[in-house]
Symmetry: C2
Subunit: 309 residues, 2 copies
């Protein structure tokens, strides 16, 4: 049976890891500030799909004490990726794989440098959940993961055997899984939404419903989406205009959410600016795509980040 390590037992890692353990998998959780609490009291998950408690979990404060695992789930924010060279090698089994649950673009490369090009796959999470206390996760809505496999240069790899194995475990744990034959396309499709709404929610101090309702920010979000689509096209990934229109329409029907980046900003945590904005912008610059509004959003976010720092 597959063993799982969860690096980063927060809103994301805590929720998915607890679901995997609840379904019978062996899961090892790395914790930082919550270690003592979770070691004693376990994890508490609130969710519209049913609340549950795991009174006992395999909790670790030190990665050196964790057993090597088959799947190492990286659920840290990309702003903490400087920690990965220390964290990953001890806990990754010789034939194991890293499952990277991070937003943005080009985040696999850094992991591949540490563990090898053939040992990284990714999961794009569509979930609304927060950590509300030590070992206490409140899952609010959604929860699906799009799995995609990685190789250098982001070729379309189809559906690989390890994607299927991980999908099976997640599905049995009650998590909706979609398999993407082309990870890079999936990442660009997610960025079409993440770039305008994460960025503008921080700069304009706004919830998603306000941004989509106001005609000026509705247009600005559309403009940004079209810039993102233009960069993706230059990388050979076609996203039809209908996808943008569908995204906008779906967004008008969402509840009044705070985006994850806005939550990070409000809580004084560093924002994932480079993974979500800097890396796509650099692709645009290298490939000669004009994306002035994305650039302006990036400049504004960096200013706000530095002011807060």
């Amino acid at each position: 049976m597959t063993t799982y390590a969860i690096l980063g037992t927060g809103a994301l890692g805590g929720f998915y890891g607890a679901r995997l353990q609840q379904a019978g998998n062996t899961v090892h959780f790395l914790l930082h500030s919550d270690y003592a609490h979770v070691k004693r009291q376990g994890l508490v998950i609130e969710s519209p799909a049913g609340n549950f408690t795991l009174p006992q979990v395999n909790a670790y404060a030190d990665v050196g004490e964790m057993p090597p695992c088959d799947v190492v789930v990286v659920a840290l924010k990309s702003t903490q990726n400087h920690l990965l060279p220390q964290l990953l090698p001890p806990v990754l089994q010789e034939t194991g794989v890293v499952l990277l649950l991070q937003n943005g673009l080009d985040v696999e490369k850094a992991v591949a440098t540490i563990v090898g090009d053939q040992r990284v796959m990714s999961g794009l999470c569509f979930i609304c959940s927060n950590k509300v206390g030590p070992g206490h996760i409140r899952h609010l809505d959604y929860g699906a993961i799009i799995l995609g496999d990685y190789a250098p240069g982001y070729p379309s790899l189809g559906i690989t055997a390890r994607m299927q194995r991980v999908a099976q475990d997640f599905t049995q744990a009650g998590i909706d899984v979609e398999l993407a034959t082309d990870l890079l396309l999936a990442r660009w499709r997610k960025l079409v939404w993440n770039i305008p709404f994460n960025g503008l929610s921080v700069v304009l101090d706004a919830k998603v419903d306000a941004l989509i309702t106001d005609s000026h920010t509705h247009q600005l979000a559309t403009d940004l989406m079209q810039e993102v689509v233009a960069i993706a096209a230059r990388q050979g990934r076609e996203i039809p205009e209908a996808y943008i229109q569908g995204m906008l329409k779906a967004t008008t029907q969402m509840k009044p959410y705070l985006t994850s980046m806005k939550i990070d900003y409000d809580q004084g945590r560093p924002m994932e600016i480079e993974a979500l904005f800097g890396n796509p912008l650099r692709v645009a610059q290298v490939t000669g795509v004009s994306v002035p509004k994305l650039e302006m959003l990036y400049q504004q976010l960096l200013f706000l980040d530095r002011q807060q720092g």
Copy 2:
């Protein structure tokens, strides 16, 4: 001797009007909320150039009671220009002229529609002053006015006789005056600074010194300045790159100011978005100049304005 009417006895009109009266001119002040106070107690001016009080001023709450004047100084924000059709005709002498002290672009046209094409001139104010209480103006820094004359289509008119007459009164009142032979060029030059710093100070909740110090907003301000210069060029007004560099350098040496638009926003007053951003943007659109960052700033400001409204 020239008689002056001041429409809008606030930070701007209160300061300049008081200086004119102090220098011996006849000045009539239109007031709104401060009328009763100023009628009784006059005006108090604090200024680094010397504090002074005018215990008695010609104060009016109703424009119909004011005598027709030679120079009608419009010191209202452009967001109140819908009031001008009622305010201007009673107070403008048959041979008089309106002196419009407003920021932005294309603000003369609306006034000319009311009083006639040949009866409008403008003053661009470089001043830092606030109204801190009823009839109480605190002048902090600067104070110069650039005077320019107006005719439909903004031809360069050179230095006209009425510019010289007004300049003489203002100069005698201790106000630095510069005469612009080309009002439209002067407006564009002022917008080169006003657009980035007024706009970004509101969107990023920042003072000017923070915006100019941070490398990302320094670059963004430069980008916006270059867009403004590109629109001006399409109207035949050349602003050299050295002007931008000089503006940026001068800005690094300014004290930590709040811009006037930021003060308006913080105090819940409407912002002059159309005069400063909407009108220049529409010129760009009509003449086919690409100004995506100006457009984005306009979209962001309209969102914030509507959220506040």
